[in-house]
């Protein structure tokens, strides 16, 4: 009977998801494993009952998002199995529709032993289920493993749910945001790297109006941005104006960033840039591809976002403009301001271990042992960089990628995003770079750490936020764009804040403030 109802739910879900999203048919890419429904039946019959002899490989099924179009071949997987004495089944699903896949698998109880989420936002959504006891609490076991014990305490803290650790994290540098600009243009115009937001404005203006490419045509623009207030230019600029990261303390309570005057200043700044035409006017409808194209075609000269994007930006730019030079820069402040840069909570994704698939403590320990091995340099390098000599070589103790980027992307990328920890903890090589702008960028990223502005709510909880925080955020996102585009004025923006408050925002403020005080 249980099985039958499961089937019903599954078919209902499937039909539902298909009808509504209509774009999830890529999930067929997991061609080398049985369908989730077949999986759910067999999950309980996995060989956990009889502990195999030491030499017998552990069977582990892993579900994770895939950021490229095709499922990677088994090149890395085969090596990985040898190194870790496991038999792995990787279930890759396209990142774009991964959340739906997660939800559907979860609903049908068919999550595999190792379940990667997609990002922090997904993690927040899963907290309710975590509290309900659907996933193993792994905190107490971590110290039993040599390498897992090395994971950074401060970041693990950010992933705690009600003070307990349920997940391993995939580490990322705290703050990668900064400016990438056309060095040759700046040199042509006699401009130095911008120190303040006003310098930056002047640079955008000069790049637009003063013919920086010296071809006598009015065919350039300053900044290229996209429809993303966080990873696009907006949030990084807001740090320059001193806006808190998502939430900030004011008069003893936590308030969202958009209730701070610095946020308004940032909007005014963006509005000035756009009104004057020093950036792409349609940025609110521009995809990352189009944004990047504007830079790579030699049309735009400023890019604000992850400084690590500089390699691909530069490589594609010189195909179009062979004489182009780029540089990276950070530490931009408002005139007289202090430098700070918003930071992520140190991870970009987590791994969970569903109780529905891992039945016993023994089995859990075996799975954790796999992750323990993943945190050795040998395994971490294999998964992050590939096979030495095939995908990368070691230069000065750093990994240098081979020239065949397509091959690396095809064979390694799928695994790269699933390595837990970070170079300091798992011992993987850091990257070797030849491009000066990238070397600078890596330096800036390290320099960003001490001045990083943290999100005070990262370790906190708000039930209302979990339930509808993102939906409410849409009100603010829309209002922010409308303000920048001049559709609404300051009063209109304040009305949007009131709207946000009355529809649950005030509750979020209260809940976060209470949690914040309790935490201190």
């Amino acid at each position: 009977m249980r099985k039958k109802s499961m089937l019903l739910v599954l078919s209902a879900m499937l039909a539902f998801v298909l009808v509504l999203s209509a774009c999830s048919d890529q999930s067929g890419s997991n061609n080398n494993q049985p369908s989730p429904s077949a999986d759910s039946g067999s999950a309980s019959e996995k060989p956990s009952e009889a502990p195999p002899a030491n030499e017998e490989p552990t069977e582990i099924t892993i579900m994770l998002p895939l950021n490229i179009a095709e499922t990677p071949p088994d090149t890395i997987k085969t090596e990985l199995e040898k190194l870790t004495n496991t038999k792995l089944t990787y279930q890759f699903f396209p990142a774009d529709t991964y959340e739906e896949k997660l939800n559907a698998s979860f609903a049908t109880g068919s999550l595999p032993q190792v379940t990667y989420l997609k990002n922090q936002a997904t993690f927040i959504k899963f907290k309710e289920a975590i509290r309900d006891g659907q996933f193993w609490e792994i905190g107490p076991y971590l110290s039993e493993f040599e390498n897992l014990g090395k994971l950074k305490e401060s970041i693990l803290n950010n992933t705690k749910v009600d003070g307990k650790i349920y997940s391993l994290y995939i580490g990322r540098p705290l703050a990668r945001q900064g400016l990438i600009y056309r060095k040759d243009w700046a040199d042509n115009l006699g401009l130095s790297a911008p120190q303040t937001t006003e310098d930056l404005f002047a640079m955008a203006k000069a790049f637009t109006e003063d013919d920086p490419d010296k071809d006598g045509q009015d065919n350039t623009v300053g900044l290229t941005d996209r429809n993303d207030l966080i990873y696009g230019a907006f949030k990084t600029l807001s740090s320059a104006f001193g806006t808190p990261n998502n939430w900030g303390e004011k008069d003893g309570q936590l308030l969202p960033e958009f209730m701070f005057p610095e946020y308004i200043e940032t909007m005014d700044y963006m509005k000035r840039l756009r009104d004057a035409g020093y950036m792409n006017k349609d940025f609110a409808a521009t995809s990352k591809t189009d944004q990047v194209n504007m830079f790579q075609s030699g049309e735009a000269g400023l890019y604000i976002g992850s400084m690590q994007d500089v390699n691909s930006l530069y490589n594609n730019l010189v195909k179009n403009v062979p004489t182009a030079e780029v540089a990276t820069h950070n530490k931009i402040t408002k005139p007289g301001g202090e430098f700070g840069i918003w930071a992520i909570p140190g991870y970009n994704n987590v791994v969970l271990f569903p109780k529905s698939a891992i039945k016993t403590e023994d089995e859990l320990k075996k799975v954790l042992a796999f992750f323990d091995k993943m945190m050795t340099p040998e395994v971490a390098n294999l998964m992050y960089w590939g096979i030495e000599g095939t995908h990368y070589t070691v230069v000065d103790g750093k990994a240098k990628e081979m020239d065949d980027k397509d091959k690396i992307e095809r064979e390694v990328k799928g695994f790269k995003d699933s390595v837990i920890g970070e170079p300091e903890t798992n011992g993987q090589y850091t990257g070797y770079h030849e491009l000066q702008a990238r070397i600078d960028a890596e330096k800036f990223i390290i320099e960003n750490e001490p001045v990083a502005i943290h999100d005070p709510t990262a370790p906190l909880d708000s039930a209302t936020y979990t339930e509808k925080g993102q939906e409410l955020q849409k009100i603010i996102t829309d209002a922010t764009y409308q303000y920048i585009y001049g559709d609404i004025d300051k009063a209109g923006f304040e009305k949007a804040i009131e709207d946000w408050k009355s529809r649950g925002g005030q509750k979020i403020i209260d809940e976060y403030t209470a949690a914040y005080k309790a935490n201190q």
């Binding site: 609903a107 349609d282 849409k474």
Partner: protein
């Protein structure tokens, strides 16, 4: 005589024998039923069984508790939907887009089919027919991307043309005024050609003798269209209209979702996109099911109304 008797017999089926009668009839037409079987199975499996899932709209559905374990909350989610501040906006947007679809898009394939039918050069006719089909095979992503490239203010060809002739650049992509026209034009662009197929087939079935007779009576082209072609395809038009109304709220999730942005959400958010962003992306299954339920309900009412109207007008309707 025999027929009449059979009819009478059928009208008064003796009760106890009815069951075996049915069996007999099924057995008699077993091949027909066999042929229908895959279709019946399809509907049962993929249309009826999933309806069971609708019960989660009355629950506070938690995936890990399943349908049996989840708490029943009655009409809570419907209440939330109807009291949602954006509800009226979303409903209005949906109905307006639907109305525009019916008003501006629906007649286009008919007109196009009539025009194609009048073309006498076969090669030209077929070429045009094929050309107008093609957009149908492009996904919305492509259609929307092409529109983006043409309409953007940052070097889009249409805005460049406007600027060249001294006009002011128009913010097509990020304004609430242009969202609806853009939507409907894209629908026409993609689907108009495809929509002609059924009409052309219906026109092809018209007895050429009728036209001959009309010509002999001195009817011109327009009179022939008005008095022969249109009446002949009238029932096809009505059936398609009813079906179209049944799809009232299928405005193309993908299409609208791709066009949506912060500046046009006020006119562009429809039930489908709302279900996706508020419901599925946030994992609020019960709430999104409730919205979907509500949407189907409107669709049902409209189909029944349209069918009733069609029957009143002396047509067959769809059931």
């Amino acid at each position: 005589m025999q027929e009449a008797r059979a009819e009478v017999l059928e009208l008064i089926p003796p009760k106890p024998r009815r069951h075996s009668e049915l069996k007999k009839r099924i057995w008699k037409n077993k091949l027909l039923y066999l042929m229908a079987l895959p279709g019946i199975l399809f509907f049962i499996l993929f249309k009826y069984v999933p309806m069971y899932g609708l019960v989660i709209s009355l629950q506070d559905f938690k995936p890990y508790q399943g349908i049996r374990g989840s708490e029943w909350v009655g009409l809570e989610h419907f209440k939330r939907l109807f009291t949602e501040p954006d509800f009226l906006m979303i409903l209005t947007n949906t109905l307006v887009l639907f109305g525009m679809n019916l008003l501006f898009f629906f007649p286009i394939p008919i007109i196009l089919a009539l025009m194609l039918n009048e073309v006498r050069i076969a090669v030209f006719k077929r070429t045009v027919q094929t050309l107008v089909y093609i957009p149908h095979f492009m996904s919305w992503v492509i259609i929307v991307s092409i529109s983006y490239v043409m309409l953007t203010m940052d070097g889009g060809i249409i805005n460049e043309l406007i600027a060249y002739f001294g006009g002011e650049k128009i913010n097509f992509l990020l304004s609430s005024e242009w969202f609806r026209p853009m939507y409907i034009l894209q629908v026409i662009w993609r689907e108009a050609g495809w929509g002609t197929i059924i009409y052309l087939a219906a026109i092809a079935a018209i007895d050429p003798g009728l036209y001959e007779a009309a010509r002999i009576d001195g009817a011109g082209r327009f009179r022939q269209i008005w008095h022969i072609t249109l009446p002949a395809i009238r029932s096809v038009i009505i059936v398609l209209l009813i079906l179209k109304i049944g799809d009232v709220l299928e405005l193309g999730f993908e299409h609208v979702y791709l066009l949506l942005n912060s500046m046009n959400r006020g006119v562009g958010e429809i039930i489908d996109t709302y279900v996706y962003t508020a419901g599925l992306q946030q994992g609020q299954f019960s709430y999104s099911t409730a919205i979907g339920f509500f949407k189907s309900f409107i669709g049902l009412i409209l189909v029944m109304a349209a069918n009733w109207l069609a029957k009143r007008m002396g047509e067959d309707g769809v059931y």
